[in-house]
Each structure stands twice: as C-alpha cells, then as structure tokens.
Symmetry: C2
Amino acid sequence: MQALKKVRTVRLPLWVALSTLLALAAAPSRADADAHAGKPAEPYDYANPMIGTGGEGHTYPGATVPFGLVQLSPDTSNRIFKGNFTECCYAWAAGYRYEDPVILGFSHTHFSGTGHSDFGDLLIMPTTGALHLQAGNDTEPGYRSHYSHADEVAQPGYYAVGLKDYGIRAEMSASTRVGVHRYTFPQSDQAHIVIDLTHAIYNTEDKVLWSSLRVVDNQTITGYRMTNGWAKFKPIYFAIKFSRPFDSFGMVREDTHRYGRMPRSKEEAIAANEISTAPEQQGRALKAYVDFKTTAGEQVVLKVGISYVSPDGALKNLAAEVPDFDFDRVRAEAKQKWRTELNKFDVRGTPENMSMFYTSLYHSVLGPVVYNDVDGNYRGLDQNIHHSDHPTYTIFSLWDTYRALHPLFTYIETDKVADMITSMLEHYQQSPVHMLPIWAFHGNETGTMIGYHAVSVIADAYVKGLRGFDAELAYQAVTDTANRRDFAGLDSYIDRGYVAYDLQNEASSKTAEYAYDDFAIAQFAKALGKQADYEHYLKRSQNYRNVFDAKVGFMRGRMSDGSWETPFDPELAQKHSAFTEGSSMQYSWYVPHDVAKLIELMGGKQQFVKRLDQLFDTEVSKDKVQEQEDISGLIGQYVQGNEPSHHIAYLYDYAGQPWRTQERIHQVMQTMYFSRPDGLPGNDDIGQMSAWYIFSAMGFYPVAPNDLTYEIGTPRVDHATMKLSGGKQFTMTAHHLSEKNFYVDHVLLNGKPLDRSYIEHKDIAAGGTLEFFMRATPNKSWASGAASLPPSMSDAQH
Amino acid sequence: MQALKKVRTVRLPLWVALSTLLALAAAPSRADADAHAGKPAEPYDYANPMIGTGGEGHTYPGATVPFGLVQLSPDTSNRIFKGNFTECCYAWAAGYRYEDPVILGFSHTHFSGTGHSDFGDLLIMPTTGALHLQAGNDTEPGYRSHYSHADEVAQPGYYAVGLKDYGIRAEMSASTRVGVHRYTFPQSDQAHIVIDLTHAIYNTEDKVLWSSLRVVDNQTITGYRMTNGWAKFKPIYFAIKFSRPFDSFGMVREDTHRYGRMPRSKEEAIAANEISTAPEQQGRALKAYVDFKTTAGEQVVLKVGISYVSPDGALKNLAAEVPDFDFDRVRAEAKQKWRTELNKFDVRGTPENMSMFYTSLYHSVLGPVVYNDVDGNYRGLDQNIHHSDHPTYTIFSLWDTYRALHPLFTYIETDKVADMITSMLEHYQQSPVHMLPIWAFHGNETGTMIGYHAVSVIADAYVKGLRGFDAELAYQAVTDTANRRDFAGLDSYIDRGYVAYDLQNEASSKTAEYAYDDFAIAQFAKALGKQADYEHYLKRSQNYRNVFDAKVGFMRGRMSDGSWETPFDPELAQKHSAFTEGSSMQYSWYVPHDVAKLIELMGGKQQFVKRLDQLFDTEVSKDKVQEQEDISGLIGQYVQGNEPSHHIAYLYDYAGQPWRTQERIHQVMQTMYFSRPDGLPGNDDIGQMSAWYIFSAMGFYPVAPNDLTYEIGTPRVDHATMKLSGGKQFTMTAHHLSEKNFYVDHVLLNGKPLDRSYIEHKDIAAGGTLEFFMRATPNKSWASGAASLPPSMSDAQH
C-alpha cells in the first residue's frame, strides 16, 4: 500500500545510475569478494538488499534476520515534517535512499517497503575529531558522513560502509532482537560514538514524547523513547553494551519544552545546552556520546538489545542472543539463518532473474516480525504486558500482504503461520473494538487502508488445512470483525449491501474488498461445517455487484439513496473519491472471487478482454490524477506498483485467453523488476510486491486466496523448486524459456497434460512437478475452454 | 520543605474566617451528626482533615486511608504555569484551598503538605444540564460547581460536598489503591460524569506527555496518562467501574500537537474538537463524559482503581480491594482503618488540643504511601516492573521527615519501618547514581532539597533495634550514598571537609546536614561493630565546624581556598546563598548531634542562650528576605513553618535553661497550631510539621534522631498514652497543666524523679510513665546541671 503519499517521481542522477550499473551489473558480484572466493554461488549470494533502496521500493539495505525485530540500517535523511509528509518523508520511508550522498547514522528499526512509515529508533554514529551532536548539513558541520557505494556491502544479515569523513569502517549484523555494530577506527585521540534519540523516520518536531538514557557503567547504556507517530504510542527500550570501556561520556538535552520553563525555539534550546555527565538524563530531545582514544585499526563492537517491554527486557534479549562481542559469529549465524531461508527455493535462471527471485524471497520474510522478548513478554494493544509461549508477531500490513505474501507463507513458513494467526487473535482480544488487525504494528492499530483482510489470511490457512491456532476463537474474531458496525461504513454495508459514498470516502473499493473478505469467511465457515454462515457470507460476498453500475460497466460510487455518483469519470483518481489509491479503472476488476460473474457484468468474455486491453493500453491524462497516491509502475492505467492491480493481468485466463495473461505478466516482469537499487516498480509493502514476483516467476499466482487455485501466467526462471515446510517439494520447470519464448505451448502437471489455466492448492501441497513448455508465439488453443474457470467460481455463482 | 516557592501571604476573606469559626469552633462538632449521635467522642472524631487546607498547610480535605496510594480529594484550581510557580501553583499544592468558592472536580492523587507538588491525576466531576468539557471560569460556563463549607464533610476516609450548581451530593471514600465516589443526582435527563485528563496540580501546558482512554463496556473505562512534572516521568494507569451502565459516552481530544498536523493554539484545538464515540482515544489532551438519565435521588457509585504498572494492575487492585459497589462498606472499612490508627494514642486535653493532636496523627500517616499493586508489582526508578512480596512504599520527603516523622514511626508503625527501609534500598538498587532516596516519589527521584537523610532514617531504626531489612545492604547503601562524589558538593565535602560555596549553592547548609547524617552513619557503623567506619564517620560529623566561623559566631559560606564569604550578613536569606530556605541566623543552630561543641563555639552557655534569644526576639528586615522561600510561622527569626528551625527551641535545654525551652515551645504550640483550616504554621510536609506537634505535645522531641534521646519541652495535653507497636505503652501525664501552667516543676520517669532535661529511647521503648508536674513560673533549678547533656554528646566530642 502507499497510503498518504503524493505524486512524486525520483530521477536518479547520472552518477548514481552509473555507479549502480557498475556495482550491480552482474549479480552476485556485489557480494564482498572475500566471503565467496572460489565458491560456487548459492542462493544467499543472489539476494541483494540494495534492490529497492532507490526508486520507490522503500526497502532498506541494512542488517536483519528473517522475521527479525531489529533492522539495523543506515539512515540518510533527517527531514522534519512541516505540513506535508511527501516533502519530508515519503521517499525516505525506509530511512535510506540510494542516491543520498551522506549517512547520518545507523538506526535499529525500519519498515521494509512501506509508503507511510515510522521507526528509525536509536540512531548511533561513530565519528572522529571535533565532537558534533547535530547531524549537520551542507553548510553546518555535524556527525554525518559522506560515503561511497563502492565502499558499501549489503548482504542478508550484514551491512558495511566506509565513513569517508572519519576513516571509519562501520559494519553491522543482527540477531532477532539484537543489532551488532563493529566500528574500525583510525588512530585518534578523539574517537566518539554519538547516540541521537531525536532522530526518527517520518519525524515531526514533537514526535518524541519522552526519552531516557542511563549510563549504567562504562560499557553499558540503557534507555528508552516513546514516540507518537504513525503508531500513536510506541515505547521502545534498549540496552547498549560496548566491547571496551569508553573513556568518558556526556549527554545533552535539547528540549524546547522543559518543566518549569517557558517554551523556547529549537535553536535556543540547542544553544542553551550544556553537556551533563550525570549518568541519567530524561527529556524530549536527548543525545549522548562516548569517547575513546583509539589505535589505528582498533575495533569497537556495540551490541544493542531492543525490547518493547522494558530496559530489563532489552538486557535479557541481549544476554540471550548475543552473550559475547564476537561480531563474526553473529554475522555467521545471521548468514546461516538466511541460507536456511533462501535455500527454501532452488532456482535456476539468468543471474538477473535469480537475483530478482532471491531478493524477492529475502524481502518476503522481513515482516511480520517477532515482537515478544526472549522471555515471551510483549506489550499489547492495551498497554498491558502479556506473555506468550509462542513467538508473537507484529507488522500486519494486511491490505497488501493478504494477496500473495501470506499465501506464500502457507507453503514455506508453515510453522510460523499459526503463530502469526495467534498473534492476530491476541490483537483481537486486546482490541478496544474487538477487531482483528487492519494495519497494525508494535502494539498499535493504525487503521490505515481498507478491508478486513486478516480474515482472508486466517481463512486461507484454515481451508488449506493449517492448524495450531484456536479455530473457534479465530472464527469468532473473523465474524466479530466483519460485523463491527461502526467500522468504516460496515453499518451501511450490512444494511444496504454497499458502503454509501455520501457516508464514507472510498466507499466502493471498501464494498468490493469487504465482499472478497466475506467470500473468505464463507470458505472458513464451510470448512468448519457452519452451513448457515457459509450461505450468509457467500451472499454478502456478492455485495460488490451493488456498486457495479452495469449500465456503464464500472464500479461507481453509490449514494445511500441508491443513486449513483454523478458526474462519474472512471479514470479520475483523487482523494476522497469512491476508490482507494486509484480509480474505477483499476478497482472495477476487484472481484477476485467471482470473475465469471464479473465477465458477465462486463458484457461477456470478448468485451471483458477488450476492457482489460483498454486498461493496459490507455494512458490516463495527468490532470485526472490529483492529490492521489503515487501510481508507479504503469502500463497504461495498470499499476504494478500498487496492490489493487496485482491480480488483474491474470484475469485474461478466465476469459479463455491465457496467452494475453502471459504477454502482460512477461511485460511486467521484464520491464519493471531489475536487479538494481531502483529495480522495484513500487513500494515493496512488507514483501507483497516481492511475493507477487515469486509466484509470478514460478508461473502462477493466487488471484483469490481462499479459492485454492492459482492462475497460470508465464514463468521467469528456468527452474524453481519450492521446498515446502512439511518436507515435500513442488518443482516448476520451464523448458525453452527465453526473453522471446514467454508464451506457453503446453503444461504438464506431474507429467500429465494440464489443459486449464490454473493449478490447485492441493497440487502444490502434495508436492510434484509443473512443467512449462515455452514458445515465442501464443498458443491460443491451450486452456482456452470454459474449464478454465476454477471450481470455486461455482461457489460464488450464488 | 518549601522548595521553589516564593514569599506569599494568603489572607482569608472575612466570610471564610467566619464560616471557619462557625464550622470548627468546637471540635468534634464538624463530624457529621448522624454518625455519632449519642456516642462518646473517640479519637476518630477529633481528627479533622480540614485543618491545614487554608493558610500554607497545603493539606487536602479528601478521602484516603493510612499510607494509602489513593487520595481522592476536591481540586479548586486549574491555574497553568506561565513562568512562575508561585503565581499558578504554590498555594494550590494540595489541589484545594479552603477559601476557593468553586470545586472543579475530584482527582485521585495528592501530596499532603508539600511546597512543590505534582499529581491531581484523573479529575472526575458529576454535572447536570448542558454538557461542558471545560472547567469554566467566572465568565465562561463549565463543569465546575460552587459549593458551601456548610455542605461539606471532611472526616478521615470520607469526604462529602454539595455541588450547588447541579444539586448533586458528592461523597467519596477510599481503600489503599481504590477511590470510590457516590453521586446522588437530582432527577435529570442530562446527568453527566466528566473525566478530564488535562487537569493537574502544578500544571503546565505540556505536562501531559501522553494519555489514553478506553471505554471497555458501558460500565468500565480504563486508561492512563504520563506526565512530566516534578516527577520527570510518571505514568499512572486507572480503571473506572460504574455501578450502573451509562446511556452514552463521548470523548474529545484537545491536542494542540497532533501527528501529521502543524501545531495550533489551545483555543483552536478546543474549537476544532469533535466528540468521538470510538471506544478508545489517545492524545495529549483527552476528556471524556458519560451520560445518564437519573431519577430524583438516584445514586451512581464509581470505583476507581489506580496502578503505576498497567491498566490490568488497576483492574486487579479494583477487584481485590472493592469487589462490589457498596459505598457504605468501603466508608466503614476506611473508618475502621483510621480508628485503628488513631487509637494508637489515648489523649486527653482541651477539645482544641485533642483536635490538633489527632489531626496531627492523621496527617502523620498520609505518607509514605503504599506503591505496589495488590500482586506486588511496581514500576521502579529504572522503568522496569519489579516485584516485592512486601508492601513497597514511596513519597520520601526525607529532608523534612527524618527529623520527627520517621522517629515517630519507629514506635507506632514499627511493622512498616522495615518495609519503608527495604523500599528505600530498592530505590538505591535501581538508582542510576547508586544512592538512597533524597526526595523521591512514584518511581522518580526529584533530587529536591539537601542532605542524604535516608541514612538517618535507616540508622535510627537500626540503632533502636528494629530489624527486618538487609542491614549489610543498608549499610552499603548508606555509605555509597555518603560517598557519591558527584552529588551536590560531596567531592568538596570529602576532600576539604566542607562544601565550598564558590562551587555549590547552599554550601554551608549542605555541609552542616551532611555532618549530621555522618553522625547517623557513625551510630549505624558502631551498632554493626564497624569500629574503623565509626571513627571515620564520627570524624566527618565534625565537618560542620569547617563552615562555622568562630570569629563571627556564625556558620558562613566558605570558599574553596579556605576564605570566608564576604561580605557576610547572617540575616540575609536569598536564593543561591550559602544556606537553604533561610539564613545563617537559622542554620547556625544546625548541629543537632553536637550541641555541646556548638555551645563552646558560640562562646559558652550564657552567650548561647543570648544568641537563642536574639533569634527569637529580633525581627529581620523584609529587604533581607529576597527571592527566598516563604518563611511562615515566625517568632522573630525563628521559623516554625519550616524544618530547619524545628529543633532550635529545644536547644535551651543543653545550656541548662530548660524553662526557656518550655517558654518557647509553649509559645509555638499556643500561637501557631489551631483547629481551623489555616491552623498550621506552614507546609505540613508529608507529616513532619504534625510529627513535631505530636512529640512536642507529649513534652519531648528528638533533636538528633540517632542519639537516642529526646529533649524535654512542655506538654500540651493532660494525658497521652502512646501504644507502641509491640504492645507496650508509654504514658505521659501532665499534672496541673493549663495555659498558664506550662513551666515544668519536676518530672517523674516511671515514678522516679528525673533531674535531666531529656529522656532516652530505651525509656520509651520499654514502656512506662512520664509524669510532668506543671507550674506557672519557671523552676530554674530543675535539670539545669551539666548532666543535662545527653550521653551521645560524648560520642561527638571527638
């Protein structure tokens, strides 16, 4: 999703584009040479955290482990909100932009690929020479440093960069809850490590509500800060241990508001600052530094435990996960975790496509993240400290990730799915509105985006046979969520069968998405043997029809009196319209669970295909996209860069023209995914953009999770074996695949001809083989018959 | 103590003075008649929470139990700090002032008798008619109400008042962690209960860092707020249960700073407000209301659990302490707790003096307060949640209370002393500076005032034979505290033998108080058999001499080069002087542990007495008291209203002129303690002012806790039996006592003549009788010999 962002285009300067090409031309060359000399490349070598750090990918290059709580990564901006998030923040949602020439420091928490953002907690920066506690800028000196991409290494679980201004090599790695820094200093009488608690992503003047720093001893600093950002209230606690004692330390408090004084300007506050050597400071704007005298090449290791419970929680996490200061061991362990993760696929293809595939897999497991401390404690949505015996997960960007990421998890992260669902159920139990998460992270519900897609994730897992969570509680949660009348037009939806546009913005996209979610509930009810509920929710899943104006052939805003939004322009994409981050042009295709009926509503298969072509082939006039989210990755009005389009190219299949799906999918993968920093078509959105690629590159995609089918597109790699969590393997082979041979001639499933344009969940789950035979021209006879409609469509034909 | 306050005099308007006299003329008539009809008066009936609510007593009239975490009391001011705490706050340190004509509401936390303050958390107010969410003022309507003292009842554990503007009777009572309200409404279609989380004592525009309100169901609201005030960071959590469902509710958020918007003025924020009926709101400025339709006389009971751990902690406290809505039972239980407490003394005297005595006893057990939840959890100084199996105490106003309050506890609260000390040791263990509390409350160290008097409290308990705490840990804590070199001039004190005035403000008062505290450590060391330490600290206890300029006969600021502060005027009392809340005139007497040497330094007994008389008999020119704390309760330059003077009147004893002590003490008790709202000579300071009265009214006072002696003054009541915690009794009888007969003729201790002006701790601890025979003229021969120096003085004569 790309909430709250504005139209914005980032053009890379030429030097960046060139250095990018040089650095990344042939994956896996960007991996540092030492680690791989003489060894054959493995999946780990193909995953490149730099991909997505330019353009609008919004990924970060730093160190993390799969589903890790800590994302230790460089930040390159400290812009502050001055009334418009686009100007200060949107492009820096992951803290780092590839084209930025300076690094401010390394902070411990980041989102991977979001539009709106938060985090950037606990910025740490090593420096030498005169002490600076301001980041600095082009005219004022500061702790920031220039760097060069030639000096930069980004690998899964490892990040390194040379800080040119200081001659310091900074390396970092991580375990689940601990970030580890290793700084190699030059000889210096004035080496410093600066800690800036005022730095944040999507920062505002008043984001930090309160913070604290405590120098426990000359190798330990603990603290916390509480922020009000996208997360309304997020306290983070930390414990920093230094591998050697620091010689001295100081803290400053740049608060503009201090108890017992009248407010002053930030400039006055900074000017009035005095360094304190008291071992504890509290305030709204704290910074600290420690000093060393270093010999040439001296290394200082910092390990930083993070907790959302307490300083003690952070210390416990630190002690449990990184008991010593052996940076290389932490790095090796992180690498091993990544190898285990990335080896879940055995892929062969061009280096470029292998890099895209494994990087997509890398990006797919950066969220949700483990949230509870090693002792099982975590801070709930209700500000109580709860205990879970299982890993508790957070970061649920569900409007994005219900589509392909969570379905992917049902195969390769089966062991984690139940814990993720249980975490969502705990959220439900702690929720003031008794709802499952919408867009939730770290004990907060942001309520961002639309739908109640947690139900899709839960139902999808259940109907696929995954267990290990309380199914009855889950069903209660799902139906409570779907019937919370005061939520985003649900009362109108329940009473009228649609969300009335005079009552709610984005009313028709809400109606369409609620309808899909209701289809998911119906499947869940059916699996639980709740026949009446099944019928009830299946009926509700038809509600999308109430906002589809058959006369004009489009979804359209509909008023509470039943009349249609007037005037109506399906291409108009603007704020407060009847649609979310797009226009009716895109949203009219949002009937993933009932495409057969949609074809009928659109006037039959021929008209349906014509309309699809219209979407892909017609550009929209710029003046129709006002005040609207960035629509990146465009083919006509198809928007690969944003989620509502993700299933659309697969819809040709349903009209009996799978070769058209093949053309479009090939075009998308060929022209929008590149193994370079700006190589993603849009925000990666906690892995949804990447999960789309993983499925699509294997040749199939879950248009409607919960209908248990995957529409066939066109593979992008020659071979891909997916190693299912249970031990089985599903292998895709694409014979004769090339940039020209992207059309499917025929398909064998487990050696038998497949004459339909979809496969079923059970085919994958059972393990087996899927063989594509590719060619350079369309085979219009393959899978063009009526049988191409998946069986679940009959469900929806109610 | 009276830190941070300025010279200020409150004159009661005539009508208040009159109504006071009417209401309180003859204690115990202010007790509500029903409860006592026909019964003989008991101690409970004499304790009057209204005493101290006028003048500068800074006590509150509301409902609490002994050592209770909740103090549910009316607040009469919502003044906001605009650069000067004197103007907004000092007079309203307890939230309520007797002369104020309106009540804003009832908040749940208050200090008893402090100068600086905090708290006023969770203001609740019942109203009828048009809903107002602003308190209002003389021109703008609001939720506040007029009231009359005639309609007001204040008893230990019970407070009631008629809210004239609404015809509502508001009653409240409390258990340790729960406040209970009972509102009797008139018939109304528009009855409301307003919750204002922006209200606070010593309020500032930005005091509330963050807050939250959650309507759990139509009888339950939970929430929290975090404030930055005198306590740097204090989160309070609460849970409110209503005895009947409310019909509707709403919340507003008057934040001037909101994420994603530019700051606006408070007026704009209020104007822009919309009532939300979502069940949860978070922000910096939250208010909520609930609505009822009430019948005439309908009662709504609210019970409010408080926790400093979590919302669940508040719910647990609520469930454990007040499981139902039986207000009368809660009130009866509170009364019973108070009877048990007040019955620890059996006193006979004039109604006025009995009222003063029992009210003093009431005020003496309002702090420290129990801090942990019923499950033992509490939030420590390190922001971790700790667990204690014992009751954890907080509110340590030690500069005040080490003098007489804690010594009093060693007799009548023996069971609690060990828990208080253990709580101080936990503070030490959680402290960033590894120190015992200075002025600490609710997980915060304010660092207010001087000295490290926790050592006196701990040592006093130990040398009196009290056990039940970890003595070795306590000794470690005591000596760590006394050797924290970066604390308030301790480095200079340790290195030079005094705190240099060019390095530290209030340097000579610090030196003198550290010296006394070191005397306490010496006694503790001796009791532990640490002979070398005993000698070391006894030597340190002589450091006061280093700031006593024998040439001028006064304590005086001394520079780091050894030279004296010049020019020097012993009467000058100003900020940043060498003395704390006073001048050298008062502080030169601060050698409680070595009075014999002080006499010598002053030039012998005659000169010593002359100097004492000079203090009492000479007024200071007003222009010498600049920028200085309020000095109330004056006799010449003797200041009964502030602690540094508390022992001075007893010093005549040491010079062999106990009749002069008798005169002065009689004068103080007769002219400065009155059974009326403005009846206290100064801030009650968490009971120190009252504990002074309790000891003095019994005829003796601990000039130097830890020397195990009590100087004899003159009793104020005819009879006082103190029931020691262990079961023994110590009985004081004053024969022939009257306003004229305040001189001591002779004294019998356990029936035997006592020819010295002190008694010893062991005399009290063993139980026994002390008989005074009073007369109208001085008996200059009684206790005038050298034997009047207590034995511990020989200790100090080192």
